[in-house]
């Protein structure tokens, strides 16, 4: 359903305030893009948003993000109410973090992506899941999983500061503050700005 001009203006104003990192014309562009995507989506959601498939295609074509596990998580983060579609507010505010987030915002975002089951910790199993395809050249005499398990141990040793065998947000935050390169430690989940 098309929005009235006044309603649209109110929306843009409110979004410009809430998504602090964009200016008004940038917000307008994103909202226009949203409208385009909605038109492309299935009409299940009565024009209120677009679904997972469209979201993943968009992130792929715009940012080159290909990892399924990651893309699923990102969608879940954007889709705050777990309804299966992204609204315009969620869209703009989500992109604000992705594209222009402060280090704090990005750390929270990445941690949430990696915390696959959302229990507030990144467990060894979750790390294994994300890293399972990361060893391209395996030594012939080794079990394929051994290599990944060792890598998980290495990552844990580096980042698990309270030595409880899993990464809390506090662990993760400290690790990233010490070494910024670890922000996307378990896989790219931010756009690649070259």
């Amino acid at each position: 359903a098309a929005m009235s001009r006044k309603a649209r203006k109110l929306l843009l104003d409110s979004l410009t305030r809430s998504a602090k990192h964009f200016n008004r014309s940038e917000v307008e562009c994103l909202v226009n893009l949203f409208d385009t995507l909605v038109a492309r989506a299935r009409s299940d959601f009565a024009g209120a948003g677009f679904d997972r498939t469209v979201f993943r295609d968009t992130l792929y074509s715009a940012f080159g993000m290909t990892d399924d596990v990651v893309l699923d998580r990102v969608f879940s983060i954007f889709d705050r109410e777990n309804k299966g579609c992204i609204t315009v507010v969620e869209w703009v505010e989500g992109l604000a973090v992705l594209l222009r987030g402060t280090l704090e915002e990005k750390m929270k975002y990445c941690f949430t992506v990696y915390d696959l089951n959302g229990d507030g910790y990144i467990s060894k199993e979750e790390m294994f899941q994300m890293l399972k395809n990361s060893l391209l050249i395996q030594p012939a005499d080794e079990e394929p999983d051994e290599g990944i398990k060792d890598l998980v141990e290495i990552a844990l040793k580096k980042m698990d500061h309270d030595h409880d065998g899993k990464l809390s947000f506090t662990d993760f935050e400290k690790a990233v503050r010490d070494e910024n390169l670890l922000l996307e430690a378990f896989g790219p989940c931010l756009p690649d700005i070259k």
Binding site: S134, L135, I137, P139, D150, I154, A155, L181, A185, K194
Partner: protein
């Protein structure tokens, strides 16, 4: 009488006092079987760096930094596990994070001499130079800092230049805003660029390349900044390059002396050291010496003499004082700060590099009579004479000059003589180094002039006169000049002149007559003038063909040459044959011009010589026509 001692900074292919490591580094014993725990730990990580995707690689690289990378065992483990090649290959990708992770490690381990040679051998430098073009400033900084470490040997510095590295490093110094508020990020990029340039600037060709890339005005701009962490590499680079005259000129004309003086008062001793070194090198030029004084740099330099613990700082400061003291106005200023007294206290218990400069400074200060007395009253003469037995040639040259300077005062001369100083100087004439020989000969001039019973003293040195006469066979111009000056003094004693004549001083002097070097001409003419006063030496000079060349000296532009030559010709003209030769060589006309000179000695000698020639001409006329 004194010549300016040749500068201690010879322009070698490489400059600077820092040692260079051009020899192939020693290889450890190959095939050592005891592999360290670090080796195994790093080898485990190497698996992921070699075979992992960027995510795995990054985790491994970050973990690798938990090892103590400044420890040799770790550094060599990285090399021996083949990780070094992989680290360098990572640099060649477009993955900024992997490049960053790799450089963070390379920057640390390149402190190791074997590693940096390996990095250069593997082509790492070329890749790092390319990275200097990256838009990511953290990456550029890391690349520059790593280049700074690797470029500590000659071949590496050449590679950097050959791949366009110098130009790019200079570009890192270009920042948008340099005022008194230097934004942190720009300062950091410039600091890293300056560190790399500092390492690279040890090669002469790189110094030129930096200049051609427009580096000097940028260095000048950053010099006005107040952050010591960037000032140190900037001044480090400047003082390294200051061995080049073009840099010294720029340092002077771009107003950098003022900043260098200002930073002498910094709290950072390293910064103070580099500023003093820069001044040391630049003060070769008179205008710079004046600028240092005008910007009130002489007092801080003198104050810094109190910091005797830091020997590098002390060496730089004493060096700066030495060169500044070449100018008389500066010596007068130093007197206000009692610098001479302080310098004398540094004559004992100091390393050679400090001593050389301290004594150089005292030597220059001797140009003022008051200081010669001050040195004596401060007890400086004995330590100086003692150092005449040193073996370091640069030190000896300065000691000779200082002793010679002191010897200009009869009171000092008495002390020098009592400590056997003249004999020590004389035996330095046997030293194989021509600079030592020449400076010793120069110092002997005032000694011979001012010593009591000088003639006897000289005679007491067994073989001494033969020694000095034989030095007239030397090929070194400075030796010849100084020896002539000494002989001119020695010859004032008749007995000694007789001995020197026996040793063949006349033909040896005559052989030198054909020279265009005005300094040599002057002292040679003086020597000839004095050597004429014995027996048939006048005739002998004529026979050994000294007269005609001397006549040519009158055409020189140097008034000191004229005076000495006129004196010699006057003496020679007592012999009729010499008069004939002089007349044939147009001496009369040239001397006539000098009869009106304001120089009394010249006037008299010229007139006397012309008179002799005329008298002979008249006598010849009379004899012809009855």
């Amino acid at each position: 009488i004194f010549s300016k001692a040749s500068s201690s900074l010879e322009d070698l292919g490489e400059s600077s006092s820092e040692t260079d490591e051009d020899e192939q580094p020693l290889h450890r014993q190959e095939g050592s079987t005891d592999l360290t725990p670090e080796y195994w730990g790093i080898q485990k990580l190497a698996k992921y760096v070699k075979g992992g995707d960027p995510t795995a690689t990054l985790i491994a690289l970050c973990s690798m930094r938990d090892f103590n990378l400044s420890q040799e065992a770790c550094q060599l483990a990285i090399k021996d596990t083949g990780c070094l090649e992989v680290l360098i290959n990572l640099l060649d990708t477009e993955e900024i994070k992997c490049q960053t992770g790799s450089l963070k490690i390379l920057k640390e381990i390149s402190q190791n001499i074997l590693i940096r040679h390996a990095i250069a051998d593997l082509g790492g430098l070329e890749i790092m130079v390319k990275i200097l073009d990256s838009p990511d400033s953290d990456l550029k900084c890391l690349a520059a800092e790593t280049i700074a470490n690797v470029a500590r040997f000659k071949r590496a510095r050449k590679t950097v230049r050959q791949h366009g590295g110098i130009k790019r490093l200079v570009e890192l110094l270009e920042s948008i805003s340099v005022g008194s508020s230097c934004p942190a990020k720009d300062t950091e990029t410039a600091r890293c660029g300056a560190l790399a340039l500092w390492s690279c600037s040890k090669s002469t060709k790189n110094k030129k390349a930096i200049r051609k890339a427009g580096g000097i005005p940028l260095l000048a701009r950053w010099l006005k900044c107040s952050h010591s962490n960037i000032l140190i590499p900037i001044v480090g680079t400047l003082q390294e390059c200051a061995s080049e005259p073009s840099y010294r000129l720029a340092i002077r004309t771009e107003g950098m002396i003022e900043n260098l003086v200002k930073n002498l008062s910094s709290e950072h001793e390293e910064l103070q050291t580099h500023c003093a070194s820069a001044i040391f090198k630049c003060a070769e030029d008179e205008e710079t010496r004046d600028l240092v004084r005008k910007h009130e740099g002489l007092q801080p330099l003198s104050v810094l003499l109190g910091n005797t613990e830091n020997k590098q700082l002390l060496a730089a400061v004493t060096g700066a004082i030495w060169k500044c003291a070449i100018s008389r106005e500066n010596v007068l200023k130093f007197q206000e700060y009692k610098t001479v007294e302080t310098l004398v206290t540094l004559l004992t218990d100091q390393p050679e590099e400090v001593l050389i400069n301290v004594i150089g400074a005292l030597g220059e200060c001797c140009q003022e009579q008051e200081n010669r007395g001050t040195i004596r009253r401060s007890g400086g003469i004995a330590p100086l004479v003692k150092l005449l037995t040193a073996t370091n040639c640069a030190l000896l040259v300065n000691v000779n000059k200082a002793v010679g300077g002191c010897a200009m005062e009869p009171e000092n001369m008495a002390i020098i003589d009592s400590l056997d100083g003249v004999r020590l100087l004389w035996s330095l004439l046997k030293n194989p180094n021509p600079d030592v020989q020449a400076s010793a000969a120069w110092a002997l001039c005032p000694c011979v002039e001012n010593a009591k019973n000088s003639g006897e003293m000289v005679r007491s040195f067994v073989g001494g006169l033969e020694l000095i006469v034989n030095l007239l066979k030397s090929k070194d111009k400075e030796v010849l000049t100084s020896v002539c000056a000494a002989i001119a003094n020695i010859a004032k004693d008749q007995e000694n002149l007789a001995v020197m004549t026996d040793h063949g001083v006349v033909p040896l002097l005559s052989k030198l007559a054909n020279t265009n070097n005005n300094r040599l001409r002057r002292h040679l003419a003086e020597a000839i003038a004095h050597c004429c006063m014995w027996g048939s030496n006048r005739v002998a000079f004529g026979e050994t063909k000294a007269v005609a060349p001397l006549a040519r000296y009158l055409k020189a532009k140097d008034p000191l040459v004229h005076r000495a030559t006129a004196l010699a010709l006057y003496q020679l003209s007592e012999d009729p044959n010499n008069c004939v030769i002089m007349h044939e060589n147009g001496v009369v006309k040239l001397l006539l011009a000098m009869v009106g000179s304001t120089d009394d000695a010249l006037q008299e000698a010229a007139a006397g010589c012309i008179a002799n020639i005329r008298r002979l001409a008249l006598a010849t006329e009379k004899a012809k026509y009855g």
